[in-house]
Amino acid sequence: MLAKVQSASVVGVQAFRVEVEVDAGRGLPHFVIVGLPDTAVKESRDRVKSAIMNSGYVFQDGRNTVNLAPADLKKAGPSFDLPIALGMLHASEQLNIKSFDDYLILGELALNGTVRPVRGILPVAHAAHRAKFKGLIVPEANAPEAAVVEGLPVYGVKNLRHAADFLSGQTQIQPCHVVLEDLFRHDHGPEDMDFADVKGQESVKRALEIAAAGGHNIIMIGPPGSGKSMLAKRIPSILPRMTLPEALETTKIHSVVGLLQHGEALVTARPFRSPHHTISDIGLIGGSANPSPGEVSLAHNGVLFLDELPEFKRSALEVLRQPLEDGKVTISRAAGTLTFPARFMLVAAMNPSPSGKSSDVQNGRVSAAATQRYLSKISGPLLDRIDIHIEVAALKNEQLLGTSTGESSTDIRLRVERGREIQRQRFAGKKIWCNAQMGPKQIKEAVPLNEECRDLLKYAMNDMNLSARAYDRILKVARTIADLADQPDVAVDHLGEAIQFRSLDRQIWG
């Protein structure tokens, strides 16, 4: 007898429908899975057989053929275990189900019949909703993740028998329900991450606030122990709250790589990704034979923190250029071309010299040539995409021992969100939503300069030997500073503050 079960598989962050056909025929005992399965799918035979027998059913010997259609797409992962097992039970007439067509079914089986969670449930739930399925049957631990999609009943199952009883109408399962508002209510991230913990460094905090408000990329230069990493880790706490569409996009990526916690429904806190500097190009932007998202995509709608920037491989840094420019990564492999979203805020940190201290350069302990070599690892085009350069000085003893605490992240975030709101209104109807994304034309419209400002810029360009690329950056940052001050026009003091954020242009390439 033949059974046909609806299931799905994920390529990139897109789900596509897979029909699992099971034919339990007579003849010499034989069990084969066709339809371009990978190793995990092939091994499904042994899991399915054990799970069926240990759930109190009979595994019928005979000619059992499983086909995964469409046959020309590669199927990966263990998520076909449950549909195959249910198909086998139906084909061997141990289960009385009128039709499998109403439900999309996914799940990995343990040998005792328990259903284990699988990756990439959220994209599948979206696809099921679009294809107007009556419901989605998933492992119980994945149910909240799928239930985020509104208007699609999601049934979480514990084990094979649970699923079989539900399909044959012997048990009822309450559809999993999540309240989206509740998910967003407690999204402060780890409680111990607050700017109030960082002593001193007021100028750096100000720069980070500007960067967060305008979506600017930022680089911090300072000796070891000055608190660069500590500051960077707290940036998500001052970024504007995630909106639902943003959270869904980020969750899809995290779901595909299996980063979601057990039973977690939605990523509501902005991600903070901090890859080690030994990371490969593919680890950073994504790829490999079955293309999977890299760190830039995992940081989508959040922060990508690159500590010790000059220590990264030059090739790894250069591949960052496309995502920084377009907010997405396109990966081409023999299997096909995939696009992953990758809109993140780049936060970099580096030491001023290879020894870590700028004083070593001044007193000759580190040669100027060595320092130059160290700094020149960061290419001009990459630096071109970083709007704000800020120097982080080592803390003085009195600051360190003092009891004064800084401003809390909650207060800073309020100002940041107000600044973003002004930008949202300014760019309404356009494809951009923050100052960092402005092109030359939009800069001209949004940043009208008076005589006084023009003079200051002319002086700065000549005297500090700033390049043309620095010019646009200064205007964008000045716009953000004015937005934070709730000023409609950019004034001289806004511009002056923006100009001092270009220190690296002079030091390295000036």
Partner: protein, 99 residues
């Protein structure tokens, strides 16, 4: 039926269990042996049995419609006692590649 022989090899017992055709391989070992009898039914031995089973089925009519399985009977020989038998049902199946 005992000991079906074809040009491919031989099968110790061919019998029926309910409506399933069962091909049985009998392996004997002394009780003192450290090796289990079933372990002696190697992949190549299985292949030979499967080929022989095909030959047997060909002699029947409607052979594709008959459910079938392969069993192994382990026989432990003991001195001065009756031998002890153990039946392993569905001991093996057709491999992935064609035989």
């Amino acid at each position: 039926m005992r000991n079906y022989v074809s040009r491919w090899g031989e099968i110790d017992i061919v019998c029926r269990h309910a409506n399933t055709l069962v091909f049985v391989e009998v392996k004997a070992r002394s009780e003192a042996s450290w090796e289990k009898p079933a372990e002696a039914v190697t992949k190549s031995k299985q292949r030979r049995i499967i080929r022989t089973a095909y030959a047997y089925l060909q002699e029947l009519e409607d052979s594709a419609e008959i459910p079938a399985r392969f069993d192994v009977v382990e026989v432990y020989l003991q001195e001065n006692q009756a031998p002890r038998c153990e039946l392993i049902t569905s001991a093996f199946a057709l491999p992935d590649e064609r035989v």
